[in-house]
């Protein structure tokens, strides 16, 4: 992939990933074949801020964990009344970082 496309991707998708991972992502993109560009673009990345809002509103039922794909933790959170209310609050602080992690995992599955 040429540098212009990689930079464009980084610019438009910077908010979905951890800042310290961006240089590594750019390196990976440069090594990736051009044919994968459409696939990389078409993945639905979760918005961290939106997940925080969902966590505040519906975290009590584990909805945030379900949406980002941590099904096991989602069910556990739902069963225990949001982890007795403690987990709900803990997740307000963890969910954004976790969302970025999940986005990175999605990208890594394509880029390798």
């Amino acid at each position: 992939m040429d540098a212009q496309k990689a930079d464009m991707f980084i610019m438009t998708h910077a908010k979905f990933f951890e800042p310290h991972l961006l240089p590594a992502i750019r390196e990976k993109l440069l090594q990736t074949d051009d044919s994968k560009y459409m696939m990389i673009q078409s993945v639905t990345y979760r918005e961290p801020i939106l997940m925080l809002i969902i966590s505040i509103l519906g975290g009590h039922f584990g909805i945030d964990r379900f949406i980002i794909g941590d099904m096991g933790l989602g069910v556990a959170k739902l069963l225990t009344c949001g982890g007795l209310g403690i987990w709900t609050i803990v997740d307000w602080f963890l969910i954004m970082e976790r969302t970025k992690e999940v986005n990175f995992e999605k990208l890594r599955q394509i880029v390798g």
Binding site: H60, T80, C81
Partner: protein, 139 residues
């Protein structure tokens, strides 16, 4: 989720849950009502699917299974989770194994199969309807 993050999150929550159960047990023994921590119930004054779990767990600890079932059937899986998971994780950390993490990954795979998650959520939804019925006087 990495193994380390998962273990520390669940270990912290498991120990907090155990402390909360012991505290509620003592409170309920003294016939005092433990204070209501359920955000959903505070906001809407309606019960959430897992309201009544603590009363249910205390009933189980007293050996009164029928009372536990009528309070909230989710008390049984919750008590199992809180009783087993922290010790399992501690065991894994001490012996440097990954048994719990592997089971967790497997459970996530099973839940991703179409229908399984739907079945689990349906059961919880039925329990919620039952709790709502109790609270609103339908049953």
């Amino acid at each position: 989720m990495t193994r380390k993050n998962l273990y520390f999150l669940l270990l912290f929550l498991g120990i907090a849950g155990q402390i909360w159960i012991v505290y509620s047990y003592i409170k309920l023994e003294q016939q005092e009502d433990s204070f209501n921590i359920c955000l959903f119930k505070r906001v809407t004054s309606l019960p959430c699917p897992s309201c009544g779990t603590i009363h249910s767990i205390v009933s189980i600890l007293h050996g009164d299974f029928r009372e536990a079932l009528s309070e909230n059937p989710l008390g049984f899986p919750d008590l199992l989770l809180v009783a087993i998971v922290p010790f399992w994780i501690l065991g894994d950390l001490v012996f440097r194994k990954e048994t719990f993490y592997k089971i967790y990954l497997r459970s996530v795979e099973v839940l991703r199969i179409k229908g399984v998650l739907f079945a689990v959520l349906s059961v919880i939804f039925i329990i919620w309807l039952y709790k709502l019925g109790q609270a609103l006087g339908w049953i």
